[in-house]
């Protein structure tokens, strides 16, 4: 069990770190997809299969597509592999210092924390149970999320759309 968790963690963290360090944006985006898939693998490991599949569907299926389209639509050079200018050394060093100190603080806090003992086997949560809870207890939240998503998507379309008039030749 723990060995599988460590394997998943290595995949997830390794690809995330590589993505943040690569100079090629497309490689970064694809490595991040690997990292998100690792997160989904973690959900599967923890027994939350519905969430795992939703994670893959949304992140590997949708968000990655949006990111890749954005990368290709904002190309900065004529070359195909889109190198990014290297960040300055001080910037990288200070970012690393901030991230490392935060990691140290949270890590020590987690390491010293005491949690009540948990049950050994995974809790069973069927899709039906999740659905019923979503619709009954969290119905208002579900509605709000639906509205947020609709507004966000319409807003994104409006922001990103080109104002140019459509060519009459475009008619079907």
């Amino acid at each position: 069990m723990t060995a599988a968790l460590l394997l998943i963690a290595v995949l997830m963290l390794g690809s995330a770190a590589a993505a943040m360090l690569r100079r090629n944006l497309i490689h970064s985006a694809l490595l991040l997809v690997a990292s998100w898939t690792g997160v989904a693998a973690f959900y599967l490991w923890a027994g939350a299969e519905f969430v795992a599949f939703a994670q893959i569907l949304v992140y590997a299926g949708a968000v990655s597509m949006v990111v890749l389209f954005a990368v290709l639509l904002t190309r900065q050079s004529r070359e195909a592999d889109l190198p990014i200018e290297p960040a300055t050394v001080t910037r990288t060093a200070s970012a690393f210092a901030v991230a490392a100190s935060l990691a140290a603080v949270i890590g020590s806090a987690v390491a010293t924390a005491r949690f009540p003992a948990a049950s050994a086997e995974a809790p069973a949560a069927s899709v039906k149970q999740i659905g019923l809870e979503l619709m009954a207890e969290h119905g208002a939240a579900l509605l709000i999320v639906g509205i947020v998503l609709t507004v966000a998507l319409i807003g994104a379309t409006v922001i990103a759309s080109n104002d140019k008039k459509r060519d009459p030749e475009d008619a079907p």
């Binding site: 519905f50 299926g61 890749l68 195909a80 039906k128």
Partner: protein
């Protein structure tokens, strides 16, 4: 009825597997149990793929008034007697093709991103095979029993978009990249109606598990009219939307824009040759087969027999028969319809299929709410449900095609 469910033919594949497993030493039994399932699915659908290609070429040939491949028989050095040296109607063509693909030179462009160029075909084949894991091929034959099987199916299928992007981008070819972007626009546009067309079934069957969905369709009125979802108004509409979206999702004609050879050389496959090309080709057919299998499972009753008298036929034969019919339908469509333009393609999805699929979800909700109605109310239920399908279809269809008449030619009859 239970006698048929327990018949020897029905249990034969499982018995065979258990017999093979118990021959092995105990520590290997668990792993070999799963390995045998995987190998069986790979072997069956690998062969199915091989014969789909030859069936497609032969059928397309017939549709175009030619013969199709009919020369590949047994090899010259075959030890069989002369009277078996028949051409076999060209049925061994796929094996000749496989040998050709394997022995061809594998060309990688000098400027290509070598790692991604190699990974793309592997990813696309791997994930298209993973979708088979949740299809119930027979009463007892489902590789993995999952509670969220439908979600798994679509999650595994969404990885093929990524593979197409990787192929197009890593080739360093503008045709490849353009075609990949086109393919992505198409796949994203049609993923929405594809998923929305399945939602009504989830709503009525109130489960995401594929085997439970098949179970929900297992009854007959008067012993002959099966309770498949395709025989309800919302199910019929959902099935048609599913068919169109499945055609587009598997890049087949009339939606084969990503590989429109007259515009984009060979699309995102331009820089692929030899075995990698064969892998893409394979993944395309696996995707088509998996989507057809899902359509059969969700709308056409899966492994259920069409009438009670034929209940004794093993369930996996029904599944395969329906699957073959679906594939034949897809081949027929390919031989008949012309390719769409990219703007027509996206418009068809967003302005026509998505609104209809959304209304269809409401229709299924109505159907689920009125499940208790009986007697004359049953007729009202059918009429209302049919109206929710037909009226929007006519209204949206008319408004989209308003102002367009068939093209008239000035100088030609």
């Amino acid at each position: 009825m239970s006698a048929a469910a327990d018949s020897f033919l029905e249990r034969a594949p499982l018995e065979l597997r258990d017999w093979a497993v118990q021959l092995l030493p105990a520590p290997l039994q668990w792993i070999s149990h799963h390995l045998i399932t995987i190998v069986a699915v790979l072997a069956v659908f690998g062969l199915f793929f091989a014969f789909t290609t030859v069936a497609e070429r032969k059928l397309l040939g017939r549709l175009q008034n030619r013969l199709g491949p009919n020369r590949a028989g047994l090899p010259k050095f075959s030890i069989l007697p002369w009277h078996i040296r028949h051409k076999l109607f060209g049925l061994s063509q796929p094996f000749a093709d496989a040998v050709k693909a394997l022995t061809k030179e594998d060309i990688v462009p000098a400027a290509a991103d070598k790692v991604l160029h190699f990974l793309a075909p592997v990813v696309v084949v791997g994930f298209s095979l993973m979708t088979f894991a949740v299809l119930p091929f027979g009463r007892n034959l489902i590789p993995v029993e999952l509670d969220a099987a439908l979600l798994y199916f679509f999650a595994a299928g969404s990885a093929s978009e990524l593979a197409i992007f990787m192929a197009g981008w890593s080739s360093r070819n503008k045709y490849s990249l353009l075609a990949a972007m086109r393919a992505l626009a198409q796949l994203i546009s049609y993923e929405l109606p594809l998923i929305l067309s399945v939602v009504p079934v989830v709503l009525v069957a109130s489960t995401l598990s594929t085997s439970a969905i098949v179970q929900a369709q297992g009854a007959w009125t008067f012993g002959v009219l099966p309770h498949w979802f395709v025989f309800t108004p919302w199910g019929f509409a959902g099935f048609i939307i599913f068919l169109i979206s499945a055609l587009a999702e598997s890049n087949r004609s009339p939606f084969d824009l990503p590989e429109a050879e007259s515009e984009l050389v060979a699309g995102h496959l331009t820089e692929y040759s030899g075995f990698k090309y064969a892998l893409f080709f394979m993944a395309e057919y696996f995707g088509l087969t998996a989507l057809s299998g899902l359509g059969v499972t969700v709308f056409l009753g899966g492994w259920q027999a069409p009438c009670e008298l034929l209940y004794w036929v093993p369930s996996y034969l029904w599944f395969m028969g329906k699957l073959i019919l679906m594939i034949m339908l897809f081949i027929w469509v390919r031989g008949t319809l012309l390719r769409l333009r990219i703007d027509q393609l996206t418009r068809l999805s967003w302005q026509f299929l998505v609104p209809l699929a959304l209304l269809n979800v409401g229709n299924a909700a109505f159907w689920a709410l009125t499940a208790q109605w009986s007697g004359p109310l049953q007729l009202v239920r059918w009429a209302v449900s049919a109206a929710i399908v037909i009226v929007p279809f006519l209204v949206i269809g008319r408004s989209l095609s308003a102002g367009y008449a068939p093209r008239t030619y000035r100088y030609a009859p």
